[in-house]
Subunit: 317 residues, 2 copies
């Protein structure tokens, strides 16, 4: 199950995960269009099973395992959406999941993951190495490690989001996708430009976690400390090894959004579109609302990548 | 354009409003099912154009007018969703709309209505008679008055919501619909039971606005003071003349929900389903979540009737 990230592989993944993953709605809004000056099509992965697009990659990965592999279970490390996604995909496939989460992970996310039947192994974010813990569990039990973004099967699964968007709105000028590790961005870019090579693709990240922006400028992966952004799903320190070359080839540019723009967009989506996006999930919409796209782009597909935000956090916006 | 409320009329309305009104998604949630003990299908009218189902009746009404009538404009009185709906339907049909709103209407709703190009006439809720103001404008200008619920064309339009739900999930055991004036409930009941006479239909209202509950018991419309419920869309003092007999014939019972159950459901839908429902819009879901349905009902269609809630109000939940 090595896999190369191609449109064909993404189409196969779409067939593989059908019925396990929702075909999420694409929303339009006159108010959003008037305010942003573009015609926007919002792909609502916040309404996805497990609350984010991560279920696509996790399901594609799990459904590609052999019966023997499944019997030994899967393991993942994540404090957020990937944890829930792997737990959900494993439960649906009848496999045991172990998820390595930090001791200070949001209680709601720990509970949602446990609620899916996963075993939680907690670690100290300051002292322990979560990757080492994950690898050790994998070595001891034979469980398959499911990487959150830096693996072709994960990227191919996330690409089904872009495939659905292009199927529903074939004549887009551009798609705008948030990027943490780059799984969603590289997958969607492969799908969109595979279908129509003239579609322009943009990544979005917070100004406070601008590793992709710097890496694209430098022509090689550059690391930053992303810990201070509110967009917890985009707090990866640097681009992935699998994802970076794909983004370098297919993505026109990385747009940066401020913390305030992210928060105001979360609020706007709740007030006007009646949907709840987590800060990471609102970043791409923020880039479009706050005019970060080059001029002349009219029809724009935007991923709302997730909706797992704590009520308490919303109260502070 | 008198119109009798029948399944056939609702089917004609569906064709009439197609392209003007969204076919809203039907959401499912494993968490909701586990908590409620039923298999729930949520018809998301909160994601509808203008933020509620009211656009269905308003559009059906406006699109049934002659060119001569349209040229004279339309008028409506409403502090809430019907105002926005009529303003939106009129704008799309190229007709002038005048909306009579109370001086103390939520600023956001007044602005959203004006934003659609409507002329706002404000009145003092304690001194003035809004119906008299609306009728006078109609008499003076020839504008057609569009009633918020108590007219066959309005009811027939709202019925398209039930039609879509039954088309998408044909094998429902029951549908659960909130009721203020009864437009959505009577329309959906006509559609659902017209398609399958064994579908059970339940209305839902707040304990603090239980006019339908009392009216069904009394066998005739009974008035209450509904002003204290948080569900502002359900604050009608008594059932409508057109809607009451339909509900009496087709609806099995009226379920009552507490203020706390409504608020907790709004919070639950935001936290778990990532959708924003206004208190009125969450009432039907609250009835199902809090076990108000008779035992033995398995597959349940639920209308989430609207999402127009102020951010400030949400902060208080």
């Amino acid at each position: 199950m090595a896999g190369t990230v191609t449109l064909e592989a993404i189409r196969e993944a779409a067939a593989r995960i059908q019925g396990e993953v929702k075909r999420t709605p694409v929303m339009t809004s006159r108010g959003f269009n008037e305010r942003s000056g573009v015609e926007a099509f919002l792909k609502c992965e916040n309404l996805q099973t497990s609350g984010s697009f991560k279920i696509r990659g996790a399901t594609n990965f799990v459904r590609s395992l052999t019966a023997e592999q499944l019997a030994k279970g899967v393991v993942a490390f994540s404090s957020g959406n990937h944890a829930q996604a792997v737990a959900t995909a494993a439960r649906k496939a009848g496999a045991k999941a172990t998820v390595v989460m930090p001791l200070d992970a949001p209680k709601a996310k720990v509970e949602a993951t446990r609620d899916q039947g996963a075993t939680i192994v907690q670690y100290d974010r300051l002292k322990d190495d979560r990757e080492a813990i994950g690898r050790k569990i994998s070595e001891d039990t034979g469980a398959t490690l499911i990487p959150p973004y830096d693996h072709p099967m994960t990227v191919i699964g996330q690409g089904t989001c872009g495939l659905e968007l292009m199927e529903e709105v074939p004549d887009l000028d551009a798609i705008v996708v948030c990027t943490g590790g780059g799984g969603l961005l590289s997958g969607c870019a492969t799908a969109a430009r595979g279908i129509r090579s003239d579609v322009r693709v943009f990544g979005v990240e917070p100004e406070l976690a601008n590793d992709w922006y710097l890496s694209m400028q430098a022509g090689k992966p550059v690391a930053v400390d992303p810990s201070s952004t509110i967009a917890d799903g985009l707090r990866t320190p640097q681009p992935g090894k699998v994802t970076f070359p794909i983004v370098q080839e297919l993505v026109e540019g990385i747009l940066l959004v401020s913390e305030q723009e992210i928060k105001d967009t979360v609020k706007y989506l709740i007030s006007r579109l009646k949907i709840v996006a987590e800060p990471s999930g609102a970043a791409a919409a923020a880039a479009v609302l706050y005019g970060k796209l080059p001029a002349g782009i009219k029809r724009v597909g935007i991923t709302i990548s997730g909706g797992n935000v704590d009520w308490d956090l919303l109260q502070k916006f």
